[in-house]
Symmetry: C3
Subunit: 508 residues, 3 copies
């Protein structure tokens, strides 16, 4: 049994909790859209064809912003194919995933769905096979007041009011050779610059996201960001980062420490962005849009060229276990720890495709294990992210060397005084005792905190998963946290995630 001591003080802060940290991602890929969020034949479908059972889970998940429609898909997507009367929409072959795309869901439909479930749509334009003009046309279709051709077409398609989409991705993973119309850094920097300039000419208040690296291991990593930002610094607000994690060659210790990679990724991108700012003599701070992240067993995927051409195929529908859920919980902790520079993040994806929500066509919808840490973090992280002082044992990992056994973040809601503490024990073998200095949390003020709840995701069988038949096999359960005087203590079993909530009150 190890020991971990955590001190909190509301005076030591990182930055605000940003709602967009809890974003997700709907790509036209596999069964994310079709038989995922959309299945008009389903008994629970609404009048637009969207599954209400899935929508209910999306609301429960607490997703805020949803990126759409890709992903690799967008780089060969003609958005015009997906608007207008459904019967007139062409069926196309999407080469990103070698899938038959019926276009029964498109821009307007997605926005309808997003508004219905209360999430903010975040749109990506195709800078793969298309360019500036088409990007502008989509923007005008979505956001312009009626009176000219493109918004009039939107109105004719049933949406008189502009969709008013605020966040736009300038393409997707353009650094990746797998991308249709992949670009060199210089090429991408130029097309992003010109597309951004044209889009800003219509609306200078848009938030624009330039493509960063598809992962930290790309051969162009770092250089790509520098070259892109040298061109686009004044024109974009965010630069994207994507990362997927899995146990490599069975190395679960390193897998549990995936947050270290995400941390270094963010730090590197921030350093690059601030370098460009320094060269330009600018005080502007480019933010990170970590708009694809998750656990993904890529080793199980044989590559796009291996895929048969099908409609809504079962594509990378990874089934997550307890370890995966703990890793997802720890990645959210990492994102919150960087809330000063990470403006948004999108777990990829929302339904079926490496997703927290699983469905069966014509059947049920259920929560995967990873649903729970996301939902609880999204629900209870409020106010300001605090910077805790942690003293704990270390775990040896092959990928990152020695790392802290315990990772922790906490948020403090100035209005209610509520504290939420999120903790992961990254050891596969060692439990540890958490000692949280609650007195420090109150910073010497008279206010004190009372324990509200301690929920934990943990299971003696770390390979346990949820299924349609047993959807609650893995679910949060009460932990043993207790407050004595000014000290909260709790047991953190191996491979466990925790949400500990405190409210203002008297120190017990």
């Amino acid at each position: 049994m190890g020991e971990a001591t955590v001190r909190l003080d509301p005076a030591f802060t990182v930055g605000p909790v940003r709602p967009r940290t809890f974003g997700s991602f709907v790509e036209h890929m596999g069964r994310c859209v079709y038989t995922g969020i959309y299945e008009p034949e389903h008994p629970d479908a609404d009048e637009l064809g969207f599954r209400t059972d899935v929508a209910q889970l999306v609301r429960e998940l607490g997703v805020t912003t949803v990126r759409y429609p890709g992903g690799n898909f967008v780089s060969n997507y003609r958005w015009e194919d997906g608007v207008g009367p459904k019967a007139d929409r062409p069926t196309q072959l999407d080469l990103a995933w070698r899938s038959v795309e019926t276009n029964q869901v498109g821009t307007d439909d997605f926005v309808d769905w997003a508004r219905g479930v209360g999430v903010e749509p975040m749109m990506a334009v195709n800078l793969g096979t298309r360019g500036i003009q088409e990007a502008v046309e989509l923007l005008l279709y979505c956001n312009a007041e009626t009176g000219t051709s493109w918004p009039d077409r939107r109105a004719k398609n049933g949406h008189t009011e502009p969709h008013d989409i605020r966040v736009w991705c300038l393409g997707n993973e353009m650094d990746g050779p797998w991308q249709m119309g992949h670009k060199t850094a210089e090429e991408y920097a130029r097309v992003a610059e010109e597309a951004a300039r044209a889009m800003r000419r219509f609306d200078d208040t848009l938030e624009l996201v330039a493509c960063g690296s598809s992962n930290r291991g790309m051969p162009t990593f770092g250089t790509w960001e520098r070259v892109v930002l040298e061109r686009c610094f004044d024109l974009v607000d965010h630069i994207s980062a994507h990362a997927y994690y899995e146990p490599v060659d069975g190395d679960v210790d390193s897998f549990l420490a995936s947050g270290e990679d995400m941390h270094r990724f963010i730090e590197s991108v921030v350093a690059t962005a601030d370098h460009v700012a320094a060269v330009k003599g600018s005080d502007k701070r480019i933010m990170v849009s970590f708009d694809e992240w998750n656990v993904w067993f890529q080793g199980r995927f044989d590559g796009e060229n291996s895929l048969a051409i099908r409609e809504a195929p079962e594509l990378i529908e990874d089934v997550y276990d307890v370890t995966d859920a703990v890793v997802v919980g720890s990645l959210l902790i990492t994102l919150l720890q960087h809330t000063d520079r990470v403006a948004m993040a999108c777990q990829a994806q929302l339904v079926n495709v490496i997703a927290p929500i699983a469905t069966r066509a014509g059947g049920g919808a259920w929560r995967q294990t990873i649903f729970h840490p996301f939902a609880l973090t999204a629900r209870y992280a409020r106010g300001t992210v605090l910077r805790p002082a942690v003293v704990c044992d270390v775990v040896q990992t092959k990928a990152f060397g020695p790392v802290d056994q315990v990772v922790v973040t906490a948020t403090h809601d100035e209005e209610t005084g509520d504290l939420a503490v999120f903790v992961v024990n990254r050891s596969r073998t060692e439990a540890t005792t958490l000692t949280l200095d609650v007195a420090a949390a109150v910073g010497g003020h008279d206010t004190a905190y009372a324990l509200v709840e301690h929920l934990t995701l943990h299971d003696d069988d770390t390979s346990a998963t949820n299924t349609e038949e047993h959807p609650d096999r893995v679910t949060p359960r009460p932990g043993d946290a207790a407050v004595a005087g000014s000290t909260l203590t709790a047991t953190l079993p191996p491979t466990s995630w925790h949400c500990i909530r405190l409210s203002e009150g008297t120190v017990q």
Copy 2:
């Protein structure tokens, strides 16, 4: 009272007066087209919707060649939107000027108008958001004999005969980051090269204008021209130059000497073009197309992003005073002084938008102050431009150091023997006496000259302007030129422009 002595000799020439020096510019911007040249609801509209009162002023102005349809507008223009039945033309949002473009005037309409008022249309292709193919298609639409798709479409739209447009601009101000689809020098050089080659494949006798710099202060000035011409030298005839002048920080002295900047601009572009010729071992001489120039109070313009989205907005409708007219007159003198290398020039723009002609929607049309020096120069500059020898006082300027107080050019019509002398006194404070050596003008021949007319643009109130109510507040008036023996003398008040005409006769 200063003194200025000018000697003229028809043997000392610069080059021919080129009709295209008196070009203008109609851009789809502000009210240049709509409620400018075109207003079908106006009582004076002809059957095509063009205002006959404006047309009459255009004829009087003596405009020869009119560039169309932009300007920044062209770089996001789909010319197909502007042809065919007017009821079927889409309304688009032009991002160059954030204006609602109804497309009620397009290529065919403009050509109709141009032929009606007796001017030559000069067409620009969109190399911003579009490329080679669309440029070729517009060319075929305009100039091909019927028998294939594009010219057949023109015929179907009522124009069986080709428009036979001789001068084509390969895009507009592609060096400017404000331009939709702005290019680096290398990028532009390549697209211009390939577009030019394709267009010449259709018609090798076209005159093609490559984009030069948007102004002499561009960071890429000079290098841009070199890079572009290294690629396009054999494929283009002209390279463009654009310049707008205004008093910077109230510095009227420098403003009156704006011709110095234009002079240095032309010299620099010529040097660059001839450098490329030297490297290529070519005797070809690339000519300057000064296809945007004027007085423009840019300081009063808050930038495109500040503009509200409107249809035919009142956009940069500068009202010109006497000083502005004198500057315009002096710029025309500079252009004539470089007639050996300036093949054409377009005052920008023709109506309402920083224009010599002003209109009120539903109301009148009148001459701004700058109308007059343009009209008189265009009317009387004939034959060959002479190279005068000038001795005069200097004016100190902040921008250019000491400059000649008096600038002068003269033209000599070999057929009629007529001489036209254009003079500006650039001093704000000092009048000067002009002594013109008329004997020298006849170069020792028996022929002598008689004074025909001395017109001057001047006013004790240099801020006087013309309005719809007082359209002739500022208008040319007779000067005091007189000939005694072989000597013409005239008084040049401060800030004054002069046109002195002599005809063959006996020296008085």
Copy 3:
């Protein structure tokens, strides 16, 4: 009378005879398509409008693979114009050849024709005025199973089954400034890379041909291939080479030795490709697609800009004589000699335009002189290409210095045991005796060879040609080859081509 000794041994081989070595080329140019293969008004036209007399000659010629639709034509071609109901197809102006293109023949029609005459279609995409997306769309139109938009359009146009075209050219002669949308090496390398990647995403088994140099004299020769392959090495199978030969300044000696140039061309491209392989540490071998080659009197062609705009004009309809036929025969020998690295070759073009088959509109179709060496080589070259040992006199040439008087290749059909020997005497003045060591040919085995036939193309009048009236003026005639013991002897007159066939049997 010179002497030439040739030893053959089936153990010494170059590689397999590749059927695609005997490819040809149908471009929408001149009268190759219209009044060439297609002439619906012709008495011999079939129900699709194709001339059956021409088709019969194509079958006799033994053509295997036919490249389509260009050539320079493809680089400004919109393939969509050529599919669907013929009455709806637009007439366009092709700028490559300044020709009126009626689009009455297009992709589906060509494939129909190709299947009818038993040749494999080889398709080129437009990377001049178009890009990745249109290339993919054409690929899907041709090769995808129905169920999505593009193949469904093909089905609607009467072709439910995919065309299943295996070989695709990534543009045409993109290194040539005459090409619409010509590219620099870097530009082409990038667009070819991305187009190839997108096309392979649909079908990784396609054979893709990157553009190499338009001829060995291009200023970018060698560098172009290196730059293109550095980008596209893993994505393409072949790199193209184009070469046309003619007597330069009347130098027939060098003309007869044109195979030397082709040989050096192939060797240079192979060296470049293998250099890139070495740098990449790859064992992959890029093959040469010599997809345009022939005798062409380019000196008689005044350039594209000189052409009048016409429909199906008589364009470069060179009439070939005996010397030309001998050169064509020798070039086929060169191609076979390089069968280890030349995967395909296309004589350019098939009908009328520098072609083996000539037609008269409404009239006959006949074999030009060059038809014969092609037809006989295509018919009898079978099995494995042998590497002969040749000892012979030399001919002095201006272009290549001293070259072997006699060039020879031989093929050995392992199944039938047949040997075919192709020989050219490249001397304009000297006959030579060929001594073929037949014993060596059997490599010490018991098998021996009997003479089957000796055909020769030769005429005392080397300027003799075929015409519609005298279509067999120049035609293969028996030679004097005879076998005595293990030795075959034959006379090779000056400027003569020979096909000598031997079958298994007893040495006579």
